[in-house]
Symmetry: C2
Amino acid sequence: MGLTKTDSFTNKQNEMAAVMKALAHPARIAIVEHLLKVNNCVCGDIVDVLPLAQPTVSQHLKELKNAGIIKGEIEGTSICYCIDPDNWQKFQKTINALFSKYNIQKAKCC
Amino acid sequence: MGLTKTDSFTNKQNEMAAVMKALAHPARIAIVEHLLKVNNCVCGDIVDVLPLAQPTVSQHLKELKNAGIIKGEIEGTSICYCIDPDNWQKFQKTINALFSKYNIQKAKCC
DNA sequence: TTCTTTAATCGTAATATTGCAATGAATAAA
DNA sequence: TTTATTCATTGCAATATTACGATTAAAGAA
């Protein structure tokens, strides 16, 4: 069906999956990495850095924005994108909470 | 096109995206959480825990296995799945490397 | 052997994603 | 005003994902 049964899972599980999904594409990883590297806000030259057409990049930016990972502000004729500080730290904690649940001592695997 | 231009990105970016993609579904998050909770290996009762039909769960397990997140061993008539210890720690480091790149002091956002 | 159990695979339908050319909206420059 | 510039949106084609019924394969029990 191509339609996820979100109703059947908890909010946390759906939120976690949503963040992962937003980062589940090399172009979006590349965008985030670039924004992290430039550190202060950067405008639409993200398009120049990526090997994709402008509409495609715009689409990826939209998905990252919808997920709350980045935010953008109008600056004259161009738009300034940057990592959303609060959400970035929140997501880091969420993901770390999952990964750190692993107890390598107790976990006697097959 | 629905076809990701993987060639245009680095191996690291593609690998990172692949791990994220494997966890980009609430059912797969739920599977991982369950395996983390049970700690030692657990067999096909994952199907009982999830609100999905057996073939669907099997499909999700396959994707997690392909991504290297879990591994399975035949145990009589049933199969025992568990988190892959080495990869789990590797993925944690990879993701942490991305998230910790953020310098909240330097990052003067819009 | 036959029957049961467990889980993968096949086949299919519905929906989502990816990518881009073309277009549109908004501001700046001439 | 007209013309660029910058970026979002639209519309479309190609491919991927999600879900499940039906079937299959493998191992154990009867």
